[in-house]
Amino acid sequence: MKLQRFGMLVVLASVFALLVAACGSDPTPTPVPPTATATVAANVPTPTLDPWVAEWEAMKAAAAEEGELIAFLCCGFGSRIGDFIEEGELALGIDIVNSTGSSSQQWNKVKAEREAGVYTLDIWTGGLNTSQNRLLPGGALADLKSLLVSPEVLDESLWYNNELFWGDFDTQKYVFAYGGSASLAEITYNTDLLDPSEITSYADLLDPKWKGKIVARDPRENGTSQSTALFYLLMGEEFLQKLLIDQEVVITSDGRQAADQLALGKYAMCLFACTTEVQAAREQGLPVQENFPGTVTEGSRLSTGGNTLMAIDNAPHPAAQKLFVNWFLGKEGQAWWQRIGADQSLRTDIDLDGVTPGNIRQEGSTYLLVERDPNFNDKINESVAAVTRILATR
């Protein structure tokens, strides 16, 4: 009798699991909130030329046929990425599915899929080094320039320095940089323990009073390497040696842990890409600050911060891909992106709503444009190698 009950349970459970599995493989589109629809109606790009209106509508119709866009929206999208996706879906009339995983995992997936002749991704946003080290040499990118047809995207006068910044320096058509935040100094700090006026140059970090009072994210890791490279290029290897060894900088692989310890007052400063985590802690009312109020004598830099757009070739949804890139780089798309994140767009015709004050470019200021050096990627590798050598002596 009990055996029968057991068998029955197994059968019932299996049937249930299969039924739910069958339902699970059919994703249901998210219902569109009626209030948001009205917003979209008002926000539809206002074309200046009739042919563009017709083309836009034709692009929307073609994309609607495909129904969805698969994107990997990495980096500069804030905690409200869901709001951004929802707004994009309403504006474009398609589902936007944000692919899961880290940048490395996503690349592994794309690379293996391509070798098997499988193509599942349309769009990739991410750091310049990702495109330089993986997507470009892997031949995974489509000619984005040829997809851009929106007049307001192609109008160079609407972008910083009156130019479109292509991250593929030789070819100028695959990697479009749309983010350009000012970065006054690569220092985040505890407001109770550090008076920003005490630091006017990175050389001040070597003051003995900061010995043991600096925490840093691991400067060898992918997410911190641009910041590492900046210190290396501006200050040299000897400076890094003194900083990391003599000043007994405490290294952690976890940005949240670094921000926690900064907020607890265990350390006065956090170096190497602590901004995101420290910003979160500041917003939670803790005595930390990611916006260094002054400038250092070595200069401030302009950073794309992982905000570049790429179109994947052999896209499963080519019409949706074309529609998205023209909307996203346009005034409305960039305004939404800026509003939900913290970085500033390289577009100059949108207000600064949502941009963290420290990230705002100052009129008339000159910035270090290290990422525009075609050899910057090599310099990153060089700086990481130098830091690895230094840390091996600890």
Partner: protein, 611 residues
């Protein structure tokens, strides 16, 4: 040992013996598991010799291996790994054995409830435990240190979580202890009390009886638990990563991880080269455990099995109290931290503004993918909880109770599945599902499954294969063949015997395997993240996304997802245990109720054994 008669019989055609049905079955099993387990491992290791840059033609060289082993810190990290493993094993193993013995062999109060709390402890993610203890034992700000500093004669709190003892402590509090208790209790329940009574009649105390009678008979189970832990020595890294990096303390697994984190693109080749050391461990473990488990009989459950429990007398309340104290440390404290932290603006910070909030719950519950992830997790984990005990009990049966040729090879294949850490095995599985070039053609048999939930089901069901088969194997070694033989003599076929004799007898272990595999599949990340999509992502991947969020680690929100996973597992475990107690044979009946010896015919009809 007996075989399956019908499967083992051989037919002859024109005087030539044809392979038996059992031979065909073994060939199928070896082929299926061989491809599934060995191909990803081989692909990972073969590709570690490909040093070509992305987009360049294949270039075979040993550069990755040279790079991996040229780091002088590697050997220090290796030494650290064995030191950490050695110390926490020296503490946790005897402790877990004592607790398992007390729960399973003595008349301790609320035995099943106490045992269940160790299961709950096992379900709590290691990272939550690590962070929880960090806030308690930080040398400068730890709550425990601060409380102790209030004492008049103490100037400085004694605890420092950022230390080797701190790392060991967190391991003990995570699942080093609870995991062993969870795995050992079912084996201890299979103890024949008449053997222990014989020990006591000879004048031995309860403790001496445990040492001289009970523990020697538990060698298969303890060996399995130890070996399963040893084979994963290079895989655990979260605790060392969080607590070791600030003090420049590295273990082998963090070094493997560094080749993925420090290189762009990640150097999987060098990581695989380092991971290859696990093959040496497997080469030692496999023959050792075979030798240990086959050199003598460990049968405790036979036709003359007599269930019963030991009365510890006046010591009983102290034992119960000790176990409850451990449960408070291992289960109550981390769960309370998870729940409390989920309502704090920032866990551990009482000066955040506001201090308490429900926004983390809003973030999780209003996420458009939460319900989808919950549904996928329920499907995957429920399927695993049902299929894996049945599948792996049959395979373990082959390992222990048949003389089929090839069973050692099959068991070796199972051990090989531990050869690469999760972060690399996920890549291997991606290659397996998408297909690969074999030189003479492309293997793409599994390509149709790619992108579907069936690929995920396959991965999670098979994920616990090594642990499951080895645990059930340990229990089969405790079972005498006489009951099966009696049933067969009485005319029962193999299948009937299996379901009427074996399944009820090993039911506690099957329930454990079902729950364990539910936990493993609900918590799977590395193995499935590359083959999951947004539509098929699980709660664990959802939590991982929160941990690597663009605006910083959403620890509190990830903790909420962990609570859902723990809650789901608790429900499943309760249902399975209730069901198992009804269908299975209870081996722990109190002496007063179980004085009559169980005869073979009675065991053949297990329903009569119920208390």
């Amino acid at each position: 040992m007996i075989g399956i008669p019908r499967a083992g019989s051989r037919k002859k055609i024109a005087g030539i013996g044809l392979p038996s049905a059992s031979s065909y079955l073994m060939v199928v099993l070896i082929l299926v598991f061989g491809v599934y387990v060995l191909v990803p491992v081989l692909l990972i290791f073969v590709n570690s010799f490909n040093v070509a840059a992305i987009g360049q033609p294949t270039d075979w060289a040993i550069d990755n291996w040279k790079l991996a082993f040229s780091d002088p810190q590697i050997f220090i990290a290796l030494r650290n790994t064995f030191m950490i493993f050695g110390i926490f094993t020296l503490v946790s193993f005897p402790l877990a054995v004592l607790i398992a013995w007390a729960i399973a062999r003595t008349k301790v109060k609320w035995a099943y409830g106490l045992e269940f709390m160790f299961w709950v402890s096992f379900m709590i993610p290691t990272i939550s435990v690590t962070i929880g203890w960090t806030f308690l034992m930080d040398p400068d700000f730890g709550i425990l240190n601060k409380l102790i500093e209030y004492l008049p004669f103490v100037d400085e709190g004694p605890f420092n979580i950022y230390s080797v003892p701190g790392i060991i402590w967190v391991h003990l509090m995570a699942n080093a202890t609870s995991g062993k208790v969870m795995l050992l209790v079912p084996a201890f329940r299979n103890m024949n009390v008449s053997l222990e009574e014989a020990g006591r009649v000879s004048g031995a105390s309860n403790f001496r009886t445990m040492l001289r009678v009970t523990l020697p008979l538990m060698v298969p189970a303890m060996t399995v638990v130890f070996m399963l832990q040893l084979v994963r020595i290079f895989q655990s890294f979260e605790t060392e990563q969080i607590l070791g990096t600030p003090i420049d303390f590295y273990v082998y697994s963090t070094k493997i991880f560094q080749f993925i984190r420090f290189f762009d693109p990640p150097n999987y080749g060098a990581a695989a080269a380092l991971a290859s050391l696990t093959l040496v461990i497997i080469a030692i473990i496999y023959p050792t455990q075979r030798w240990l488990t086959s050199r003598k009989s460990y049968t405790t459950v036979s036709g003359s099995f007599k269930p019963g429990l030991i009365d510890l007398g006046r010591a009983q309340p102290f034992v119960t109290g000790g176990i409850i104290f451990m449960i408070v440390l291992l289960t109550i404290l981390p769960i309370a931290t998870l729940i409390g932290g989920s309502f704090m603006t920032r866990v551990g910070f009482f000066n955040a503004t506001p201090m308490f909030t429900t926004k983390h719950w809003d973030l999780v519950l209003n996420d458009r993918f939460f319900i989808q992830s919950l549904k996928t997790t329920i499907i995957l984990s429920s399927t695993t909880a049902i299929v894996s005990p049945l599948l792996f009990s049959l395979i373990a049966y082959i390992f222990v109770r048949t003389k089929w040729r090839g069973k050692q090879l099959l068991e070796g294949i199972f051990w090989m599945s531990a050869a690469v850490p999760g972060i690399l095995s996920g890549l291997g599985l991606l290659w397996l599902f998408l297909g690969f070039d074999m030189g003479f053609g492309r293997f793409d048999l599994l390509l149709p499954l790619y992108g579907t939930i069936y690929a995920l089901i396959m991965v999670v069901v098979l994920q616990g294969k090594l642990t499951s088969t080895q645990l059930i194997k340990g229990v089969y070694l405790q079972m005498g063949a006489d009951m099966e033989e009696a049933a067969r003599v009485a005319g029962a076929g193999w299948l009937r015997t299996y379901f009427r004799i074996w399944v009820p007898l090993i039911m506690p272990t099957l329930i454990l395997i079902g729950t364990l595999n539910f936990v493993i599949s609900a918590g799977a990340t590395g193995s499935i993240i590359l083959i999951a999509s947004r539509e098929t992502q699980t709660l664990s991947i959802f939590a991982l996304d929160l941990m690597t969020h663009n605006t910083g680690r959403q620890l509190e929100a990830a903790g909420i997802v962990s609570l859902f996973i723990v809650g789901l597992t608790v429900v499943v475990a309760v249902v399975l245990r209730r069901f198992g107690l009804q269908v299975g044979v209870r081996h722990d009946m109190k002496s007063s109720k179980a004085t009559k010896k169980v005869s073979a015919p009675a065991v053949a009809a297990p329903a009569t054994l119920h208390p």
